[in-house]
């Protein structure tokens, strides 16, 4: 089913007599498998408002991300939270939609500095599990009118409602960028370098380690980027080389899309921890022979392990129970995804709250049932 209006979508949900699998572009096929009739948002397209001077854009959920990015680029603007293209990593096809980006809180390397998709989503319209059209937030940057259901809906993976329209804050594309790189650091020293750079006044917008290379990004006006890159190089990042322009951009695009793991076998985890805990966690998981990419100053770990047994779920989550954080199994075989909770199980009191919220938003339990776990 591919309704073309919000009202039609609401009717479909109201009339549904069984579970529905909510799909946008289908490029972020993550989560427990949902055996249900697909309901697509791809028919709800169109950018309904764009005010570059107010840094705001409103689009229907099924609008291709690429269309939005192209329109923004024409005005020198972009989605600053850097949503990734997961197709190569996950082996999916299709066209990412803005609704999918928001429903999955898809956020890239710049999250460490500017925020995640949840921080750029200003308002949502959605249809709940009973077919009611609801709205929350709006299209202004500061809004504390009532509860912030925008945050709740962002990253709810279609389990609370089906997004029909989202309002976003956008930002200017900086004049230029540069990346400071270093090839001979251990994970520990790399994370220490990242912490030093992020703790400097030089407005670092990316701090990562990929393919054994530490990468620190600065963006902005040309003169300012040159100044800050030099200041870092002469200060906390001595011995680092400077990569500029397209070469710099490619590094971050590859990181954003987890390119080093695309086309390689195995299960892939996305783990969020306190940055300084990252290297030790990976070392403790040595039994899994993992390959790791560190983003977010060390706090986001993309971990590739053999897709065998529980793909390391117990080991990883037992460790996280001690140090805090969460792990999502973003890529694995259907069998593993069925056997292992893909999303990090919440502690009991929070699981109870989440379950309670789902029961209110979707009392019949028909929207992506089980996708995020119980």
């Amino acid at each position: 089913m591919t309704p073309t209006t919000e009202a039609e979508l609401a009717e479909v949900i109201a009339a549904a007599d069984g579970p529905l699998r909510i799909v946008g572009g289908g490029t972020r096929d993550i989560g427990a498998l949902v055996d249900a009739a697909p309901l697509s948002t791809r028919g709800l397209t169109g950018i309904t408002l764009y005010e570059p001077g107010a840094l705001t854009l409103v689009a229907r959920a099924g609008t291709p991300l690429a269309d939005i990015e192209a329109l923004l680029a024409a005005e020198g603007q972009r989605l600053a939270f850097e949503p990734g293209d997961m197709r190569d990593l996950l082996g999916t096809e299709g066209t990412s939609t803005i609704g999918g980006v928001i429903a999955t809180n898809a956020s890239g390397p710049r999250r460490i500095q500017v925020g995640a998709a949840r921080d750029f989503c200003l308002g949502v319209r959605f249809v709940d599990g009973q077919g009611q059209v609801l709205k929350n937030g709006g299209r202004v940057m500061k809004n504390v009118t009532g509860y912030d259901l925008v945050k709740l809906m962002t990253g709810s993976w279609g389990t609370l409602g089906v997004l029909t329209e989202v309002s976003l804050k956008v930002l200017a594309i900086p004049e230029t960028e540069a990346t400071l790189v270093c090839d001979d650091e251990s994970a520990e020293t790399a994370v220490a370098s990242m912490a030093a750079a992020l703790g400097s006044p030089f407005d670092v917008t990316g701090a990562a380690m990929m393919n054994g290379q530490t990468m620190i990004r600065v963006e902005g006006l040309a003169q300012s980027v040159a100044y800050r890159a030099r200041a870092l190089q002469q200060g906390v990042l001595q011995g680092f080389d400077i990569v500029e322009g397209d070469a710099s951009a490619k590094l971050w695009r590859d990181l954003r899309d987890v390119a080093p793991f695309a086309g390689k076998e195995g299960a892939v985890w996305r783990i969020s921890v306190k940055p300084s805990d990252g290297p030790a966690l990976v070392r403790e998981l040595g039994a899994l022979s993992p390959e790791a990419i560190f983003d977010w100053g060390g706090g986001l770990i993309w971990l590739r392990v053999a897709d065998e047994g529980d793909a390391g779920a117990k080991l990883i989550r037992d460790d996280l129970a001690h140090i805090g954080g969460h792990a999502t199994l973003v890529r694995a075989s259907a069998a593993t995804r069925t056997a292992v909770p893909v999303f990090h199980p919440d502690p009991a009191p929070l699981a109870k709250l989440s379950k309670g919220l789902r029961a209110k938003f979707d009392p019949r339990g028909i929207l992506n049932p089980g996708l995020m776990g119980a």
Binding site: G53, P201, K274, P275
Partner: protein, 477 residues
């Protein structure tokens, strides 16, 4: 302002409830003498007052939990209170409620510069969070005007902003985790030292929920490295439209100032008389601040002044020193005090799309004449968060009511043009009844359903945020 009729049965049990609360708290942590509870009868929305049943001042999460268990068992409403600086009446008590003040929860639990976080107890004041990290070159970004006094607990409850959130975001963008006591006393941890949620974003839901979903006792906050420097430029215009267009052009140019503040003529005149900052006597004035090294600041300010010049400003004053910066900010920072010198005032907080600025200012001017009440506008122009200050005389019968009606009309206008009722102050009691102008019954019902999940008995700050008629049956149950 209508508040629910106090529950006579609770009032009658006051001694019993006080005794039970005293049993779980240290000496002096329960304030019940009617003379002393008067200190808690209102917050910064002083037009409405009501002493609470009693006040508790717990000193730990465990004590908050014990208080909540007692109140849950006794069926007593609890009104959480940070520092009592709410302009929306968020901490206004009812006679049958217990005020839970977090003032004694003011410690720093952990600072972690490598991970750029600080963990504090929620009663700590906003400015003293920065105070705890500034020696190491860090700061906590959200900066509400009341930051010297306001508590992190209240910042989280209202999702507070400030002048610098154009670049750094508001509280929700800088909050990483909370320890929260639920209505029944259960203690939960949400988020922590890592980013984002593994499941549903409950933290995002808690922030801005006005103390209706739980009592936040501890918070993990993101701290940022202080920029090398900051300097403003002041630009005066002879029309609001042109000033608005200038704001839009600056933003479109790709420069992201940390702050763009706007003042209109009535406000400029009042602050000039009060503070003597040397502002030009013009229709509209912008203060635009940028950050970085000296050279970076020069570069950005020269781009901004270039844009401003295309709009024929009547005055353009670029700061070249800390002294000049302080002088430029002096008027803006004294604006509220200056307006308060003239008369009592009500401070509004609607947000509008930046493009609607000229229209909204014109309409406010027209309404000001219709109502016969003066109004000055001072606000965060970069993000459209307006703070119209309506002047009235509290001692003149009918003036407050007239002022409230005028304020309501302005806020409805904000919603009509695509904005919202409140950008950073919260709904509280002040804008409760206007919620229906922004949200329809279903939009409100789903929010009430969220509260049902967290606080099934509706004991946490129950008479706030939503129109009383829409919550009546829930509060009664």
């Amino acid at each position: 302002m209508q508040m629910p009729t106090p529950d006579a049965a609770i009032l009658a049990r006051k001694d019993h409830i006080v005794t039970r609360l005293q049993a779980v708290l240290p000496d002096g942590a329960v304030v019940h003498d009617p003379f002393e509870t008067r200190a808690y009868e209102c917050d910064a929305l002083t037009a409405y007052k009501c002493p609470p049943l009693c006040v508790v001042l717990p000193g730990s999460t465990a004590e908050v939990s014990a208080v909540m268990r007692v109140c849950h068992e006794e069926g007593v409403p609890v009104v959480p209170r940070g520092a009592g600086t709410s302009l929306a009446g968020g901490a206004l008590p009812t006679a049958d409620s217990v005020i839970l003040g977090v003032a004694r929860l003011n410690g720093v639990l952990e600072t972690d510069f490598a991970n750029r976080i600080i963990r504090v107890q929620s009663g700590r004041t906003n400015l003293s969070v920065t105070g705890a990290v500034e020696e190491e070159g860090f700061f906590y970004a959200p900066d509400p005007s009341s930051q010297l006094a306001c508590a992190i607990a209240g910042n989280i409850a209202m999702n507070s902003g400030g002048a610098h959130c154009l670049k750094y975001g508001v509280t929700t963008n800088n909050l990483m985790g909370v320890t929260m006591v639920m209505a029944d006393g259960e203690v939960v941890e949400i988020g922590g030292s890592h980013l984002d949620a593994g499941g549903l974003d409950l933290l995002g839901l808690i922030c801005g929920s006005e103390g209706q979903l739980g009592i936040v006792t501890e918070a993990t906050l993101r701290i940022l490295a202080k920029p090398e420097g900051a300097r403003p430029v002041l630009v005066g215009f002879d029309s609001n439209e042109v000033a608005g267009a200038c704001v839009s052009d600056i933003i479109k140019s790709g420069i992201l100032p940390v702050a763009i503040e706007f003042m209109d003529r009535p406000c400029i005149r009042a602050t000039e008389a009060f503070a003597g900052a040397g502002y030009p006597d013009c229709e509209a004035l912008l203060i635009i601040e940028v950050e970085g090294s000296d050279a970076e600041i020069d570069d950005q300010l020269s781009r901004i002044t270039q844009i401003a010049r295309t709009h024929n400003p009547v005055e353009l004053r670029e700061s070249t020193s800390a002294e000049e910066s302080a002088k430029i900010w002096l008027g803006r920072k004294s604006a509220f005090g200056a307006m308060g010198q003239i008369n009592d005032y009500m401070c509004l907080d609607g947000t509008i799309p930046v493009s609607e600025l000229p229209l909204v200012l014109r309409r406010i001017g027209e309404m000001s004449k219709e109502y016969g009440l003066d109004v000055g506008n001072v606000f965060h122009a970069g993000d459209g968060n307006m703070h119209p200050l309506i002047l009235f005389d509290a001692n003149k019968p009918g003036d407050l009511e007239k002022c409230e009606a005028f304020g309501a009309d302005i806020l409805k206008l904000c919603v009509e043009v695509g904005g919202c009722l409140t950008g950073e102050h919260g709904v509280g009691v002040e804008k409760r009844d206007l919620m229906v102008s922004q949200y329809n019954q279903n939009d409100l019902e789903i929010q009430l359903a969220v509260k049902d999940v967290f606080d099934p008995n509706w004991l946490l700050n129950p008479a706030k945020v939503f129109p009383l008629s829409s919550t009546e049956t829930r509060r009664a149950s």
